[in-house]
């Protein structure tokens, strides 16, 4: 069965109150836990600058943290925030069985990357698992058990959406895009070790097909993890699913009401055919709302985009790329 989906995203935020307002009131997530330990992953000092005359916000251990989930997710949480700055801490991918974890751990070691075992409780509500450092220096965690807390509409005669849906009302976190100095190497790892497949690739040209971007899936969505050429260990964005174009537009309205900085959109991607808005959270981490796409599967043939058509592949309607979209990561 293997990897099923992106289960959680763990990011740093600079101001927890502002982050909670964004992810809860603007995006519509529910806070399921606050200030629970977020594990050994916290590496950096959380000292911050303060305005003159104000008490400087000095590091205290442990940092403020929060666990959140979207209304249509049944697992305990899908987003972990820690007040330690900006950028990605790790991504959690949920696997079908404990046997998968063993197999992936062995294959990852054979590939030559660092793996460690994580034990139940190390991540709030998450069972035993395997932590892997990708060739791109990103940390991913594989697990197969996490506390089941149910969706907001339940499993008995459910309504199509919760009556008190807030803000953009995102039903679930969909995928993440990270950057890597050598996207082909990390793609090979995801394919050989974790059985992901590329739905689409951006290549230099047909004669000299160097991979500059890859959109990888493990289930039947267009992508669960995408990797584009850039700095190792960085996050380009993580995305919230939206049902359709109307919900993308409505999310855009909410972003205007809440003064959310927009990067690009609303528009359509050539790659994945998805409909999208890119925007920034209050710490500067890029988010996306993503709708549409298509269905993949084990026999899905990989689609290629050549570098000369990449602007169209990424922003199909305008066919133009702003400088910051490819360069700005956290």
């Amino acid at each position: 069965m293997g990897v099923m989906r992106l289960g959680y995203v763990h990011v740093r935020v600079t101001d927890m109150d502002e982050a909670l307002n964004h992810y809860s009131n603007t995006m519509g997530m529910k806070v399921v836990a606050e200030n629970e330990p977020v594990g050994a992953s916290t590496k950096i000092s959380i000292e911050e600058t303060a305005a003159p005359g104000e008490r400087p916000h000095v590091a205290v251990e442990p940092p403020r943290s929060a666990h959140l989930k979207c209304w249509d997710e049944w697992d305990h949480h899908s987003l972990v925030l820690e007040e330690t700055g900006v950028g990605l801490v790790k991504l959690g991918y949920k696997c079908a069985s404990a046997e998968d974890l063993d197999a992936f751990e062995n294959r990852a070691r054979a590939f030559g990357v660092t793996t460690t075992r994580m034990s139940k409780g190390e991540n709030l509500a998450v069972g035993d698992g395997v932590r892997i450092t990708l060739p791109s220096d990103h940390t991913i965690e594989l697990y197969n058990e996490i506390e089941y807390t149910g969706t907001e509409t339940g499993t008995l005669n459910p309504d199509p959406w919760p009556r008190d849906r807030r803000g953009a009302g995102a039903p679930w976190i969909d995928h993440a895009l990270v950057t890597a100095e050598d996207p082909a190497l990390t793609e090979r790892f995801m394919m050989e070790v974790l059985d992901f497949k590329p739905s689409e690739r951006a290549i230099t040209d047909i004669e000299n097909p160097e991979v500059i971007g890859t959109w990888l899936f493990c289930g039947d969505s267009p992508h669960d993890l995408a990797i584009v050429k850039g700095q190792n260990g960085k996050l380009h964005h993580f995305a919230f699913f939206m049902t359709d174009w109307n919900d993308i537009l409505r999310a855009g309205d909410i972003f205007a009401m809440d003064d959310v900085p927009i990067d690009v959109g609303p528009t359509r991607h050539g790659i994945t055919r998805g409909m999208t808005i890119y925007f920034f959270d209050p710490s500067g981490n890029r988010n996306e709302v993503f709708a549409g796409g298509y269905r993949t599967g084990p026999d899905f043939p990989t689609i290629n985009w050549t570098a000369d058509q990449l602007a169209k592949g990424i922003f199909y309607i305008s066919r133009e790329m702003n400088e910051r979209f490819l360069n700005v990561v956290t």
Binding site: A50, G85, V86, F280, S283
Partner: protein
């Protein structure tokens, strides 16, 4: 009202109470290199040539260390001027007028502010009759 002057090009705009350097510049129809506008991506770091700024929002030290501030680096999407300021953009960057209409409005605002500061009679804004 305070003024923000951006080099190269010496483009001056007004900064309103509590407004950041970048916000003042964007509101005035101009842009330079920026992205997240929330202090996280550090695309809009510039050099503070003269003047003073304050930071009213938290900024992670990991991305904007003290030693950078001491060298006069300024994170312009979070920096609020408390005096007139002059900033120098990163090498290769320059101010771009992205909205001539907003730039006209901002230019008139700046002219009024400067006239008031000089004690002269105010210059009319577009569409307004000149005050005697």
């Amino acid at each position: 009202m305070l003024t923000v002057t951006v080099r190269p090009g010496d483009v001056s705009v007004c900064a309103r109470e509590g407004e950041t350097i970048l916000d003042a510049f964007l509101r005035s129809g101009f842009a330079y290199r920026y992205a997240c506008r929330r202090g996280g991506c550090v695309e809009c770091k510039v050099q503070l040539v003269s003047g003073e700024v304050v930071y009213n929002k938290r900024i992670a030290k990991a991305i904007f260390p003290d030693e950078e501030r001491e060298r006069g680096v300024c994170l312009s999407c979070r920096a609020v001027p408390v005096t007139d300021v002059v900033i120098e953009l990163q090498e290769g960057d320059e101010p771009k007028c992205v909205s001539p209409l907003m730039a006209e409005v901002a230019k008139a605002e700046l002219a009024r502010v400067r006239a008031r500061a000089a004690g002269a009679s105010p210059v009319s804004a577009p569409g307004q009759r000149q005050q005697a």
